[in-house]
């Protein structure tokens, strides 16, 4: 019993949570228990990532179910935000502030004295590497700088739970690497970090845990390797339209990246199932170059799963990166 309670106060818990926006499904029947470390929330546009994060921070209320953040209910902002920092997705700011004023003003709203707020502001601004631009108006910042000053604002009060909605968006590779390093550092300090992204590839490297979400449902959850395995149990189906499908099938089977191939009824196409789409696409390229056969179209069939699968395999997903 005692350890159970301890568990509750060190975890973020969703208990059968659903959120409907009127008729529209936001997320459905989500049950999760998130331990400290970096947890990535990965899914395509409209899958419900922001909805989950807004639920965690009490910005919206669940239609059904219960949420607890380290034992605190999201209805209690005063207690919740002494522990939680949320860097939202939207690139909006209060009018007319400099980066420094932006961070400091809200620290003072938290209740910190002028002196403490000033110290914390500089520490946060330093962490995101914006010292030079601190006294310039946010309106004049670049997109990446605005992203970083929002990050600074959300970590400035030293929360133990950081919720970050697409924090790597708009960052150049340097800033991205720096930011990931900062996240790792924060995780090492014992924080919870929940980071959302479109692209598993991007967060894969730093995550302790991945939650895959699509169309409002949690598809898979677990350690990064566990998720990969789970996805491999659901091979992706791809259809290839071409002039010599039988020939293609023979060549494909020479490799082990395909688990199943099936001729289309009109003999002008082939369905294949693969556990490793990346390897399969490479193979297909090679076959086309070697044999000179005419490929008309290549299209994933299994839509729901595929959308997520694309994230698993990274950049082949068609310019999401």
């Amino acid at each position: 019993m005692h350890s159970n309670i301890e568990h509750r106060t060190s975890q973020i818990i969703f208990g059968d949570v659903s959120k409907f926006y009127g008729e529209i499904l936001g997320v459905n029947r989500v049950s999760l228990a998130i331990a400290p470390g970096i947890t990535s929330l990965v899914g395509p546009n409209g899958s419900g990532k922001t909805t989950l994060m807004n639920l965690m921070t009490g910005l919206i209320q669940p239609t059904r179910g219960r949420i607890s953040i380290l034992g605190i209910s999201p209805d209690n902002p005063q207690e919740l935000f002494s522990k939680v920092g949320y860097c939202g997705q939207f690139d909006s700011f209060p009018k007319g502030m400099t980066g420094y004023e932006f961070v400091k003003s809200f620290l003072r709203v938290h209740g910190y004295s002028n002196k403490v707020a000033d110290e914390k502001t500089w520490r946060a601004i330093e962490r995101v590497d914006l010292i030079e631009a601190a006294h310039r108006k946010v309106a004049g910042y670049s997109k990446g700088m605005r992203q970083r000053i929002r990050l600074a604002q959300s970590i400035a009060h030293d929360p133990v739970v950081m919720i970050l909605d697409e924090p790597l968006n708009g960052l150049d590779p340097m800033a991205r690497a720096e930011t990931i390093r900062l996240f790792r550092q924060l995780a090492k300090e014992g924080l919870h970090l929940i980071v959302s992204s479109h692209i598993l590839h991007e967060v894969n490297v730093m995550s302790d845990r991945v939650v895959l979400i699509n169309n409002g449902y949690i598809l898979a959850e677990g350690g990064v390797t566990g998720v990969r395995e789970e996805m491999e149990e659901h091979p992706m189906q791809i259809m290839i339209r071409c002039d010599l499908p039988q020939d293609l099938a023979a060549r494909i089977f020479a490799s082990d990246s395909v688990v199943e191939a099936q001729l289309h009824r009109d003999k002008q196409g082939l369905f294949i199932r693969t556990r490793n789409a990346e390897a399969f696409y490479l193979l297909l390229n090679r076959i086309v170059v070697e044999s000179g056969m005419n490929i008309e179209a290549v299209a994933p069939v299994d839509d729901d799963l595929n959308a997520v699968y694309q994230y698993l395999i990274g950049s082949n997903g068609g310019g999401q990166a």
């Binding site: 922001t50 807004n54 921070t57 009490g58 910005l59 919206i60 209320q61 209805d75 902002p77 005063q78 207690e79 919740l80 935000f81 002494s82 920092g85 949320y86 939202g88 997705q89 939207f90 909006s92 700011f93 209060p94 009018k95 007319g96 502030m97 003003s105 809200f106 003072r108 709203v109 938290h110 209740g111 910190y112 004295s113 403490v116 914390k120 520490r123 604002q153 959300s154 009060h157 030293d158 550092q185 300090e189 014992g190």
Partner: protein, 289 residues
């Protein structure tokens, strides 16, 4: 890291009834809001608007010599005329619409800018947020409209001519009247401010409810006594230092004593703000869609 642990020990405690924390937070909100809403160019229009009655009194007193002479010769009439200008123009128009603009925008402006959530993401009780926003509107409107009132009165007294004006002010009932006018202005900001803050929170398009309130307040003099008391202008009207005639159509109701009027307005304001802080729990994150 050790700095994390140090940091959490200086963190303000979130105890149940921490007035000093709340006052600090209200001051922090005031600082943000006043700077954002009442310092910049956006506020210029508001200042020009609030200056209209002062300009009018200035024209009456200085530019139009007859006006000035009238004020000097028929002082009681001039005072009644001012009482009407004060109630009709300053209270019912300037303060009313000025407060509508100021207080309805406190939350709506940030919903439009999508920046309200920065407050929602602070360790801050929603009631304290409402109070902080309200006080920032109150500060701006009280400063602005007491200046309007004082400026208008200044030209009235200026036109009265020296030394009669100084005698009336310091040896007669003048000072009491001036302070009463200023007090009424402050009470008006208090009451209208609360009403418009709530209208701005409850209605997506607050123009129509604001106009309904305007109609209600103007037609107040026609209303039966019971309904009459459900308004702000009724209480302000009964506080007027110069007895004002509401016209032949007015329903007669025994004057409410200031000992009732003033506390009524304050209690009403508190109730409305309480309503607002309940409502604001339901205000969700400004959506991207």
């Amino acid at each position: 890291m050790s700095s994390m642990i140090e940091a959490s020990t200086v963190k303000p405690a979130a105890t149940q009834l921490d007035w000093s924390l709340w006052l600090r937070q209200i001051r922090a909100i005031l600082r943000i809001e006043v700077k954002k809403n009442f310092w910049g160019k956006r506020a210029l229009l508001l200042y020009l608007f609030a200056a209209i009655p002062v300009v009018l009194m200035f024209l009456l007193a200085i530019v139009d010599p007859n006006g000035s002479a009238d004020i000097r010769n028929k002082w009681p009439n001039a005072q009644e005329a001012f009482g009407n200008i004060y109630e009709g123009l300053i209270l019912r128009t300037m303060v009313f619409f000025g407060c509508a603009w100021i207080f309805m925008n406190l939350f709506r402006g940030e919903v439009v800018d999508k920046s309200l959530h920065y407050y929602f993401l602070c360790s801050l009780r929603r009631e304290v947020l409402v109070a902080g926003k309200y006080f920032s509107g109150l500060l701006a409107s009280v400063v602005l409209f007491t200046l309007t009132t004082a400026g208008s009165l200044f030209f009235l007294y200026y036109a009265r001519g020296y030394p009669a004006n100084v005698d009336y002010l310091f040896d007669g009932p003048g000072m009491g009247q001036v302070l009463t006018y200023l007090g009424i202005t402050i009470l008006a900001c208090l009451g209208y401010g609360a009403v418009f803050l709530v209208i701005g929170l409850f209605f997506r398009n607050p123009i129509i409810p604001a106009l309904l309130v305007y109609g209600w307040e103007w037609l107040n003099f026609l209303l039966p006594p019971v309904l009459k008391k459900i308004s702000i202008i009724h209480y302000l009207h009964t506080l007027s230092p110069i007895p004002l005639n509401e016209g032949p159509l007015a329903t007669v109701v025994e004057a409410t004593s200031p000992w009732i009027s003033v506390p009524s307005l304050i209690v009403f304001t508190a109730l409305v703000l309480f309503l607002a802080s309940i409502r604001i729990r339901g205000v969700s994150h400004p959506s991207n869609h």
